[in-house]
């Protein structure tokens, strides 16, 4: 019984489980046809000292401009690493660098396009941890990187900017 509890503590120690919401703003070329929207996501994090690793899923549906039926749906899987700085006992800041894969779908009337795209993410968050809860609020810059011609030719970059808030349960 005691050993089972010990194993459980070792397994979940350092982990946290939570969710995110965000306001998402297309910038650059994406802003030509897309409005701002909300993001919803869930994530699993693992912290050790100032370093935190996170794996998460996020969904955003960017609507078209002027209420047409166009929509760009983004299902994003991302693995990110964060480093805490200016750390205090209960709060601090965290710089995050992430890498992921996004499954995208565009729909408009009878039209539909699907594709996947590599994603990079940069973020900075204010983090507060009290008891079993971990709160984070910050800014994230998501880069969609595409290249149809192999790794040596030019890469097309599109961007989303988001203001995020997350809450996680720390067992």
């Amino acid at each position: 019984m005691v050993s089972a509890l010990l194993v459980a503590v070792l397994v979940v120690g350092g982990f946290d489980f939570g969710g995110q919401v965000a306001g998402v703003y297309p910038v650059g070329g994406l802003g030509r046809f897309h409005s701002s929207s909300a993001l919803l996501g869930g994530n699993v994090g693992y912290s050790t000292g100032p370093v935190r690793l996170e794996f998460g899923y996020r969904y955003t549906g960017l609507p078209g401009l002027q209420r047409n039926s166009y929509q760009l749906s983004l299902h994003q899987l991302a693995l990110s690493g964060g480093y805490g700085f200016l750390r205090q006992p209960d709060w601090g800041f965290e710089a995050v660098l992430g890498l992921g894969l996004t499954f995208a779908e565009r729909t408009f009337g009878s039209g539909k396009e699907r594709g996947k795209v590599g994603t990079g993410e940069l973020g900075i968050y204010f983090v507060q941890q009290a008891g079993k809860s971990r709160l984070s609020v910050g800014l994230a810059h998501t880069l969609f990187l595409e290249n149809s011609q192999g790794i040596t030719s030019d890469i097309a970059i599109n961007q989303l900017f988001s203001i995020r808030a997350g809450v996680a349960y720390v067992p």
Binding site: R32, F108, E113, R114, E146, N147, I151
Partner: protein, 224 residues
């Protein structure tokens, strides 16, 4: 002594390799992931740029056709963009969700001119998504010479039929949308025209095929 030096070199090399690996791995992973269907690229591009000063030169058989954005104007109470096609003006209305062209058609009877169509007609719905289609029909009955009437109908429909790479004398263009148009005008008789256009991101029209006629982009310059 030489053995010590060799050891140090090995140590240095391994330290260098260790410091290089995470960044190289990250970059390679990023580049590997970046290979894609260019969907986000297409969803952010302007396929019908009408920046003032833009010029396109097309080959139509042995002839040459010039398109140039001449500036702004106001037609029908709306500000529009003037596109010179072989120096004759066309008036285009470009909005975030659609692009319209000013259609003006008249007939002459008994020395008088009668207007059959005078409006901005829908040409493209934006953004382009493969498989989408649209259609707009304009109808009117025009009284001529006080006694006769003409039924007029203009129906323009289009379907985004594919995404293709196109090569013209101006170069190769990737991620072009192929749009198939059906244009029918009923005046005294029904005239139906079918044509296909290829529009390239950031460039605009690169190719148009109408029956046996083939218009291909030879040179272009976007912006002033």
């Amino acid at each position: 002594m030489s053995r010590e030096v060799r050891k140090m070199n090995l140590k240095d090399e391994s330290a260098f390799r260790f410091s290089l690996h995470p960044s190289a791995f990250f970059l390679l992973a990023l580049l590997a992931l970046s290979c894609s269907e260019m969907m986000m690229h297409r969803s952010s591009q302007d396929y019908f740029p009408l920046a003032e000063g833009s010029q396109w030169k097309y080959l139509l058989g042995n002839d040459t056709t010039y398109y140039e954005v001449l500036g702004d104007s106001s037609i029908g109470g709306r500000s529009c963009i003037v596109l010179g096609v072989d120096f004759l003006p066309e008036f285009w209305l470009k909005e975030p969700t659609e692009i319209r062209k000013f259609f003006f058609r008249t007939i002459s009877r008994g020395g008088d001119e009668y207007t059959l169509e005078e409006r901005y007609g829908l040409v493209y719905i934006l953004p382009f998504v493969e498989g989408n289609y649209w259609q707009e029909t304009f109808t009117d009955t025009v009284e001529i010479l006080g006694t006769d009437t003409v039924f007029y109908r203009h129906k323009l429909g289009a379907r985004i039929a594919g995404i293709e790479n196109i090569t013209t004398p101006a170069g190769s263009f990737r991620n072009c949308y192929r749009i198939e148009f059906a244009d029918s005008i009923q005046e005294f008789e029904l005239v139906h025209t079918a044509y296909t256009e290829w529009l390239a991101p950031g460039v605009g029209l690169v190719k148009r095929v109408c029956g046996t006629e083939e218009l291909e982009l030879a040179e272009y310059r976007i912006g002033p």
